[in-house]
């Protein structure tokens, strides 16, 4: 707590500290100019743009299928979801029918991707808080997911897998069984993280009651995803505005109670379990058939404006397309959840101390590729 002037017994000086752009826990090239007095943060100003690649502008010069590989590089921890979000918007604009099998494959890879992304959140968050092991453990599971993706689409990070009207490849033989084998393993590991992290008193004392905001604030700032759900507001686009075939699956949307960093951490664990449930059901239900629908060779989106959002790993991920009927978008706007969620950060940081800064920043869960686009 900052002392007021009368309380301050000795003259102290405020210090301007540049956290980043190259700093171990800014998760990329993110710069935070914090004004500190001792260890207390008086003010914080995020400076972004170090990873700006102009994706939205570039997209104006690209055909729709060519944009997909660029979306891979937005939130590079959840490329499948980005792929899908773009394709979904284009499909809605075109009114395309997507074959069943393709939809199921999409759901499977998207949920696996969500797990991979959440895993990395847990790993990096704990690394920020000073525990090294979880960071290395999560890579073990993530490696299995990435390897599965590698087998289905040939890439480990930038998949370019989901296409307008379907997916690029059908699953190779035996792939679905491998996914099935992964599920119990993953349940076991989630339990392990629960044991390793959730009960640790030091961890609890660092995250409980830290970075609290309520539903109104979250909504006012346009937050979504786990950041919103941690405040107890049940909002998940997979349930509230079902897209793809999510209405066919049974899953819960866990919500937090206090809106603090602990809730945000724990929701990641819980959501991984729900994602596993979805994958399980999708594996049971997957039909045979083609994986790419009837898509014109050159995709021309009819003139107009289209938006659709999906539940990304970090919140509502939306693509807004303005088309003038050509094969390239006139304007593409991406609703980047990390970017939106980041806005609240200065408010959260004010008055906290340096160690909380890291805990709060980590829990808001940003990916700089997405913030800067």
């Amino acid at each position: 707590m900052a002392l007021t002037d009368q309380q301050q017994p000795i003259r102290t000086e405020e210090m301007l500290l540049n956290v980043g752009p190259q700093h171990p826990s800014t998760h990329g090239v993110f710069r935070l100019v914090v004004k500190i007095s001792g260890e207390t943060v008086l003010d914080a100003e995020p400076v972004i743009g170090y990873l700006h690649r102009g994706t939205e502008k570039l997209a104006e010069d690209l055909q729709y299928n060519q944009i997909i590989p660029y979306t891979d590089r937005l939130d590079y921890l959840a490329s499948m979801l980005n792929n899908y979000a773009l394709c979904h918007t284009v499909e809605e604009a075109l009114g395309l029918e997507v074959p069943e099998r393709a939809e199921y494959l999409r759901v499977i890879v998207m949920e696996l991707q969500r797990i991979a992304s959440h895993l990395l959140f847990i790993g990096t968050y704990l690394l920020d808080l000073g525990a090294m092991s979880p960071f290395l453990y999560v890579f073990q599971e993530r490696e299995r997911i990435v390897q599965l993706f590698n087998e289905i689409c040939g890439a480990r990070l930038t998949y370019n897998y989901v296409r307008v009207g379907g997916v690029k490849y059908d699953a190779p033989p035996g792939w679905l069984d491998k996914v099935r084998a992964f599920i119990p393993f993953m349940y076991e590991r989630i339990q392990m993280y629960d044991d390793l992290i959730t009960g640790n008193e030091i961890f609890l004392r660092r995250v409980r009651g830290i970075g609290v905001f309520d539903t109104e604030t979250a909504l006012a700032f346009g937050m979504s995803g786990i950041n919103l759900r941690s405040t107890g507001f049940r909002w998940d686009l997979r349930k509230n505005r079902p897209y793809s075939i999510y209405d066919r699956f049974e899953f819960d949307v866990p919500v937090g109670e206090h809106g603090d960093c602990y809730d945000r951490y724990y929701l990641h664990l819980l959501e991984m379990k729900q994602s596993l449930r979805i994958v399980e059901q999708a594996l049971d239900g997957i039909p045979d058939g083609p994986t790419l629908g009837k898509v014109p060779k050159i995709i021309r989106v009819p003139a107009g404006e289209y938006y659709s959002g999906i539940e990304g790993a970090r919140g509502e991920l939306g693509f807004y397309i303005v088309s003038d009927g050509k094969d390239k978008p006139y304007r593409l706007k991406i609703r980047k959840p990390s970017f939106v969620n980041l806005q609240l950060l200065p408010d959260l940081l004010r008055g906290r101390n340096m160690a909380d800064l890291i805990a709060i920043l980590g829990a808001v869960d940003i990916v700089l590729g997405e913030v800067d686009a």
Binding site: Q66, P69, Y70, C153, T158, N160, P172, M192, N200
Partner: protein
Amino acid sequence: MFGFLKGLGVTLRELPKHKVTLQYPDVRPEWPERFRGVHRLLVDECIVCNQCARICPTDCISLSGTRGEDKKIRLDTFDINFDTCILCDLCTEVCPTEAILMSDTFEMAQYSRDNLYLDMHWLHDNELRYERNHPERFQKDAEGNEATETAGEPQ
């Protein structure tokens, strides 16, 4: 209280487990067939249709060809500026004759960007290297077609 003891137990249990480190330069990773590494080029297959160059989102392919005496079009140059290639696989997807494909070469660290201009010869050599490394993927079927050559095949 004392939840951290549980954590200590977890780390202790991990201790004797099988280690997952891959001793990389000594032990090489096994890439699946669809793996998207640096391109390989079957020079004779290419019909210089320019589709790959057009689809490439980063415009990194440039090629030229001439029509020979026998009316067959031949590839003269084919360069990939690997500097900007994002390995998106779109070029191999559109190629009608499967002339350009992905290999599993992935070690491309270079001291100079100039070395990342991959020309036709390099790409062809890469194809040969790929064939050498994966003879099992080139088993000809009874009719002599390359039946199992599925690596870069769009469906």
